[in-house]
């Protein structure tokens, strides 16, 4: 069964809740958007397996809460039944001493699953531009390299 319009708006809301939870340092809010067996993978920070490990990763960054704003654009959603994929561009704004400037940009490639709790992220891959093959001629770089260089 193809995704309904309801499904599409629900999936966009999950993506928005992720950004807001991250930016506020809201661990419970973050927990709510992942499935228990979720995998989170970043070209800058490597891979985390399981919701608990993902939330721990972000708890470690709690000091940065309220100094980063995650902006997204260009969602493309595909799927069927209870499975969906989402591709979404990401721009991180940095707030430092009253100054706002763009930090990094990248792309989210997600798989989402629906169960009794609704749509949640089962897999999220983040590739930072500049660590992505072909972006501004930059070669693909191995995971673990510092995103900010």
């Amino acid at each position: 069964m193809p995704l309904s319009c309801d499904d599409r708006l629900d999936i966009l809301e999950v993506a928005a809740r992720y950004c807001r939870a991250l930016d506020r340092g809201d661990a419970e809010g973050l927990e709510a958007v992942f499935t228990e067996d979720a995998v989170w993978e970043s070209s800058a920070r490597g891979r985390r397996r399981g919701r608990a490990a993902i939330v721990d990763e972000f708890r470690a960054r709690a000091a940065r809460a309220h100094t980063r704003k995650h902006w997204t654009s260009n969602p493309v959603i595909e799927g069927d039944g209870d499975e969906a994929s989402l591709t979404l561009d990401l721009l991180v704004l940095h707030l430092d001493d009253g100054d706002v400037r763009p930090g990094t940009s990248g792309v989210y490639e997600d798989r989402l699953r629906r169960d009794a709790a609704g749509w949640r992220i089962a897999y999220r891959k983040i590739t930072v531009d500049g660590q992505r093959a072909g972006f501004r001629g930059a070669p693909a770089q191995p995971a673990g390299k510092d995103a900010t260089r």
Partner: protein, 127 residues
Amino acid sequence: MPLSLEDQLDIMELMARYNHAIDSSQPEAWADTFTEDGVFEGSAMTVRGREEMLAFVRNRDQSNPIRHWNNNILIDGDGDEATAKVYLVTFDVTGPPQVRVSGMYHDTLKRVDGQWKFTHRKVQADG
């Protein structure tokens, strides 16, 4: 009754109309996004009711063109009432875009004669 998909898209579009109206300095179009007795609470001032809103846009400094951008729109509601939280940045676009303000709108909305309008829109600036 929970909000329909159409309601949610209409509210997102209301936010877009607000941005286009203020950025191109159209007093009527901007005031039209609020109820007659609507309140806009900015970081530096508060504007109440249609007359004050029209005057606010007419008197705005237009020397530096800016663009309002929204993201991460979250809407809750029931029947003819709703609340929303939405990210905001403004870009100064005199030259290459520069972020001027980053913050969040906290909105309450009401459906009036079939159309969604802001009853209260409050800016919470970051930092």
